[in-house]
């Protein structure tokens, strides 16, 4: 009977916080504590007042916001009507993951820590503020913090002497048990996703719509370094509806070549069927995995073998390795002192799980199938701005997608999983592959009144949501549209050139372009914005215009806001501080909106 039941609740956007939470769970179990690890929004928060010990593991994302899987909890915990003594039974700790290059560094963890204290909880120790910007990543902060945390927990809840810690080289029991089938099952289960209207539910992550791809067209010129595609899906019968500014999520698959190599290295038969049972009661079967399932499906659709492994991968593989030389190296790569080596070997060159397994063939060949889901994370969906309007293209959904490919010191180039997969699909095929997708609201919202002008700044693929907005607004008679578009060469990556020119002729669009490489000095959208300062000021101040920014997060947003501030001062006559206040007001009233991606 374990001496203490601990609870670890996490909010994770990219999986890093989830990985940290699962590490906490393993360390708890090694110390013989009972421990549940759960997503915050899956937890029945009514029970929080009765919990003795909870560790919160929370990432901060975007503009100081909580991850999607804790948004409901976040809205709940700040309610004014929660009594100040509610959590008087609770000992807690907060582990925050963030990036100090953002102004709102770890705001979620900081705020949560304070709020839990406000509600009567007792903090075991100060919040951990893990930082992506540290050379060794979040672990640089997490490792020492965990040491202190366990000291505190064991101080309050000592474990009986006859229950020693499970040593670190010994694997914990696997979460699931794989029951292999002798033959293929007689009835192959239906795809868990819907492909017709018979479902009453709107498509979502748990039940995506399988959309046929009807167009996959390269829109950059042949000599352009980047392969950018305009891709169209048929969403007839899906029940999906969206407006400009919304986002589509796509669940990609691994390439056939990688699937084959993985099965070969592990000695798996792709045609083998199995069912999965959780080992512990109260643990649910993995969502999104049909039962029974084939190895082919597991490796193609579920296991993220193209992702870069985390430290926990090496830790578990070391425990499972029968090969002395490989095991020694795996232990080194998972040790606290080996993190620089791990960074050099794995994280910096973006080496994938599949590549690592090929480097450790004896260990790979000895992995018990039961441990596959503990070892390898699930493939995560990718988000794209929807670039078409239902008012112009009913039953269709388009995206503008750059195929991600770049070189590190590894000989094989690094490729984006989703973009490479989508680029490889051929709509002209007799039996086209269907793409699992669903829609969610984006962070851009456009005004409804026809008189309000809209200024959009979208260089490169940033123009994607604005093409949807312009299509929609024009269809609704809103013709005061100003688009600032930047790219490298007018004949290589000037997306929708003909479409814009037609709209200009019809008086529905004012287009301002910047072709950065067509002259000696670089010309970008911010230069054009500066040139048209008086017009921009008039539109914003006298006509209540809405200003939008979309595209790459690196330096463009800062450059644009800098120009705006300069325009407010030069043409609006505002002082420096007043210009900042003016911009802040625009942001608060949604007259300035941005959607940027890394």
């Amino acid at each position: 009977m374990p001496s203490l039941q601990m609870l670890v609740l996490f909010g994770s956007q990219t999986g890093t916080a989830q990985d940290a939470a699962e590490r906490l769970g393993r360390e708890a179990r090694r110390r013989r504590f009972g421990c549940r690890v759960q997503e915050l929004d899956s937890y029945a928060v009514a029970n929080l007042i009765r919990e003795p010990l909870v560790i919160f593991v929370c990432a901060t994302t975007g503009q100081g916001d909580p991850p999607d899987n804790m948004k409901n909890f976040w809205r709940f915990i700040f309610r004014k009507n929660l009594p100040a003594t509610s959590l008087c039974q609770l000992d807690f700790a907060v582990l925050g993951l963030g990036d100090s290059s953002y102004a709102k560094f770890n705001f979620v963890a900081k705020k949560l820590h304070r709020r839990l204290l406000q509600l009567g909880g007792s903090a075991l120790l100060p919040a951990c503020l893990a930082d992506d910007q540290h050379e060794l990543g979040p672990d640089a902060a997490i490792d020492p913090w965990l040491g202190t945390l366990w000291e505190k927990v064991l101080g309050l809840h000592p474990v009986p002497l006859d229950l020693p810690e499970i040593p670190s080289g010994v694997p914990l029991p696997s979460t699931f048990i794989l029951q292999l089938f002798q033959d293929a099952p007689s009835t192959v289960p239906q795809e868990s996703a819907t492909s017709s209207l018979d479902s009453s539910q709107l498509p979502s992550e748990s039940q995506p719509f399988l959309a046929p791809m009807v167009m996959n067209q390269r829109v950059t010129g042949p000599s352009h370094f980047q392969d950018v595609r305009l891709i169209e899906f048929d969403i007839t019968g899906s029940g999906i509806s969206f407006v400009a500014g919304d986002v589509v999520l796509i669940q990609p698959s691994n390439s056939a070549a990688n699937v084959q190599q993985f099965c070969q290295v592990l000695g798996l038969d792709p045609d083998q069927w199995f069912t999965l049972q959780p080992r512990e009661p109260g643990v649910s079967s993995p969502p999104g995995l049909p039962q029974p399932c084939s190895v082919w499906h597991l490796v193609t659709r579920y296991l993220d073998i193209a992702s870069v492994p985390r430290r926990s991968f090496f830790e578990l593989l070391a425990c499972l390795s029968p090969h002395e030389l490989e095991r020694e190296k795996l232990l080194e790569l998972s040790s606290a002192t080996g993190q620089e080596l791990l960074c050099e070997y794995c994280s910096r060159p973006r080496r994938t799980i599949l590549e690592v397994l090929c480097d450790f063939p004896h260990s790979a060949g000895a992995i018990p199938p039961d441990y596959l889901l503990d070892l390898i994370p699930r493939i995560r969906p990718r988000a794209f701005s929807i670039t078409s309007s239902l008012l112009v293209h009913p039953n269709r959904l388009q995206i503008l997608m750059a195929v991600v490919q770049y070189q590190t010191r590894l000989r094989e180039p690094r490729r984006g999983l989703c973009s490479s997969w989508l680029a490889s699909l051929d709509p002209g095929q007799a039996d086209p592959i269907r793409v699992p997708l669903w829609v969610r609201p984006g962070s851009l919202a456009f005004p409804e009144s026809p008189d309000i002008p809209v200024i959009m700044v979208g260089p490169g693929t940033g123009v994607a949501p604005f093409r949807a907005a312009i299509q929609e607004r024009v269809a609704q008679g809103q013709t005061r549209n100003f688009l600032f578009f930047g790219c490298r060469w007018r004949d290589q990556d000037f997306y929708w050139k003909a479409e814009w020119q037609d709209l200009e002729k019809r008086g529905c669009l004012t287009l301002v372009t910047a072709f950065s490489r067509e002259q000696e000095q670089k010309v970008y959208v911010q230069h054009r914005l500066q040139e048209l300062g008086p017009l921009v000021w008039e539109l914003l101040d006298c006509h209540g215009a809405y200003f939008y920014l979309a595209g790459n997060a690196k330096s463009m947003p800062a450059d644009i806001t800098e120009v705006l501030m300069s325009i407010f001062q030069e043409h609006g006559g505002l002082s420096g501080p007043d210009a900042a206040t003016y911009l802040a007001r625009l942001q608060r009233t949604l007259h300035f909106q941005a959607e940027t991606w890394a």
Partner: protein, 255 residues
């Protein structure tokens, strides 16, 4: 029953004639073989010194343990005979029918000066006791929690929870790895046969640098995890030993 080597404690009181006491002590010393083995204590002194807390055998055992004796054990206990009870009554003025003679042994531990040993005392640490949740508060919390969908509830401004310290960014120096600043480490592999391990040794003792060998060290086929820093195959996957692997010029490009 006194023999050589035993330690004897003689307890006397004011009723004992001094002459008789001295005779007894001399005799005992003769029997035990040395002067140090006979200890003479006055009962009144003992009583004063030890007050009323030592009335039971178990308390005496505890006291002996705490004072540093080990293996404290009760060997024998017997009630006093009526004659002995009467004697106690007369000499000590103590009137109690439940008196016992107890024999206790203990050992001085065999320690060096300054050493310590953990006493086997079972102390149960109480977990910190928390106040019970106020039933009214619990009810409010539960009601609110069961209504997660309600978007209309008033929220506090979470920004107000932060103070200026929270808005500060970490010092960039704190974000570097401990050993950085010396450039990338050149590591030799475990069974280095290419000479890199020796070379690093030489560098340590400030000898002249030998030219870098280009040839395989014997571990090249194992994959990047096992390759040394000068391996020409860095960046390529593992291969079978003896397999021909071509290194084109383009593969030696850095990112």
């Amino acid at each position: 029953g006194i023999s050589a080597g035993q330690l004897v404690a003689v307890i006397w009181d004011k009723s004992t004639p001094t002459e008789a006491l001295k005779d007894l002590v001399d005799k005992l010393q003769g029997l035990t073989g040395s002067e140090d083995r006979v200890s003479v204590e006055n009962i009144d002194q003992l009583l004063q010194f030890n007050n009323s807390k030592m009335k039971t055998a178990s308390k005496l055992c505890s006291a002996l343990t705490l004072s540093g004796l080990v293996e404290v054990k009760e060997l024998q206990r017997e009630p006093l005979s009526p004659g002995e009870v009467k004697s106690v009554q007369e000499h000590l003025g103590y009137n109690n029918n439940s008196l016992l003679i107890i024999q206790i042994t203990g050992k001085k531990p065999n320690f060096e000066v300054g050493s310590s040993s953990q006493l086997n005392l079972s102390i149960i640490k109480k977990p910190s006791v928390k106040p019970a949740v106020d039933p009214a508060a619990a009810k409010l919390w539960t009601l609110s929690a069961n209504d997660m969908e309600d978007e209309g509830m008033d929220l506090i401004d979470s920004d107000e929870l932060l103070d200026p310290e929270d808005l500060k960014k970490p010092d960039p120096a704190s974000l570097r790895a401990a050993s950085c600043g010396e450039g990338k480490k050149r590591k030799a592999c475990k069974n280095c046969t290419c000479g890199l391990a020796e070379e690093l040794e030489k560098e340590k003792s400030e000898a002249q640098k030998s030219s870098q060998p280009k040839s395989a060290c014997g571990n090249c086929y194992l994959g990047d995890a096992f390759r040394c820093a000068s391996c020409p195959y860095l960046g390529m996957p593992a291969f079978k030993p003896g397999e021909k692997v071509l290194l084109s010029n383009s593969s030696l490009h850095d990112a």
